[in-house]
Symmetry: C2
DNA sequence: ATTCAATCGATATTCTATTATCGATATACC
DNA sequence: GGTATATCGATAATAGAATATCGATTGAAT
């Protein structure tokens, strides 16, 4: 197991995992690559290749053992060992992430949040502590936190990022709509909503202009 | 202009755009692909190729005219014409997105939100209306809304998605952690945080186990 | 005016990811 | 038990994206 996996295959893993876990346990205990692909919108060969990289739960004629597959993917993703993280920026988005219950199913545990605004500090409705920014570096170091989540406004993001890194954080998950520069060796993952939106709206406008062109070509333009 | 652009190049466009817009206007009016790439962490050839696809603001020896580049990218992305959208699911994440001021800079205008919980209905602190779900289909049709944003729990996402589509929505931006199936012709963009997280945490654990291996190979394991 | 350095844009190459092909294997049916 | 069929896994082919090469162009320096 653990053959090389592309970043794209890697990001499909949670999709498989989520679907498999939602499967009723009483029904079939096995599932084929074809069936999985059909449900998730992937090609069946891609499914096989992805799964082959992380598991050997596949048997000809039978398909994959659902339960084995689940534990293999979880092990591969490291979801069995929980990653502790801190979050910086207790604005709307930050608090939404703090309250999100789904992270723990993905092996992520946000231990505390930080904000420069003392007014926001205290216990959040999620039950988690929001602490003043001054305590960030120390807490990260003490608790050996490796993951930092940035949900501050763009203008402060770089500064916060550096603070995290000086606290020993090795991976930064950035939700601020800006580019961060990090030293070699620190992992940076941008959650870039503007990028997603660009893809979405471009596809939409392409589709619509394609329709218009088709209509023009068929003489279906506005009748005068 | 408007040569074929890959989805990946497309998602870099907002990154260029954001950086260019943040540039001080009084300083240099031009910028080279090399300088841009250095700031944003892209290769200089990639930058040139990306920009060549949407603009002809590049001049040898001078670089690109910043202002021309900005308007070319904006035009390419369709940010000059605003897209109206609705949002379904006025939970924490939904309200965070409702309040986010940055969307309008990306040509997106959320006209209203919807929720099945009547208690959440009324005016949001963002100033936008939260309406009961029953009004969704009608409003979409009346206002010719083309984009729907889904921020409901996974269990309701498919149902909401179908409601949007029956209201005439042509593009769905899904924040629910689940796979949606949409009819041919409808554009679906999943904002999959679990996928991003998987990439992040895998890279982190790879890095750490690589370090350990290196230490072992160098005889730097725990001294006994 | 001529040369030089910077930088672009187009083409070619390499690398990566997806999709197709095909032999192998496990079960079910006869 | 033998044969047919579904399905896997490995290898090969294709497609797509990133990167390198190179000639062309522009402004600056001599």
């Amino acid at each position: 197991m653990s053959k090389p996996v592309s970043a794209q295959a890697l990001s499909r893993m949670p999709v498989y995992l989520h679907y498999l876990k939602a499967l009723p346990t009483d029904k079939e205990t096995n599932i084929s690559a074809k069936a999985l692909g059909l449900k998730l919108g992937f090609g069946e060969i891609q499914v096989r290749k992805d799964l082959a990289a992380v598991s050997d739960a596949g048997k000809p004629k039978l398909g994959y053992s659902v339960s084995e597959l689940i534990s293999d993917i979880e092990a591969f993703l490291g979801y069995d060992s929980v990653n502790d993280a801190v979050l910086v920026g207790a604005g709307k988005l930050g608090r939404a992430l703090l309250s999100y219950e789904g992270f723990k199913a993905n092996g992520l545990n946000i231990v505390a949040a930080f904000d420069s605004d003392e007014g926001k500090c205290g216990k959040d409705e999620s039950g988690k502590q929001i602490l003043p920014l001054e305590k960030l570096e120390n807490l990260c170091r003490r608790m050996k936190i490796k993951i930092g989540i940035i949900t501050v406004p763009a203008a402060q993001a770089q500064q916060v990022c550096e603070l995290l890194i000086s606290g020993g954080v090795e991976a930064v998950w950035n939700f601020a709509p800006t580019h961060l520069s990090v030293p070699q060796g620190v992992i940076l993952k941008n959650e870039n909503m503007a990028a997603s939106l660009a893809v979405l709206s471009k596809r939409l406008s392409d589709k619509n202009s394609a329709n218009k062109t088709a209509q023009v070509m068929q003489g279906k333009g506005d009748p005068k």
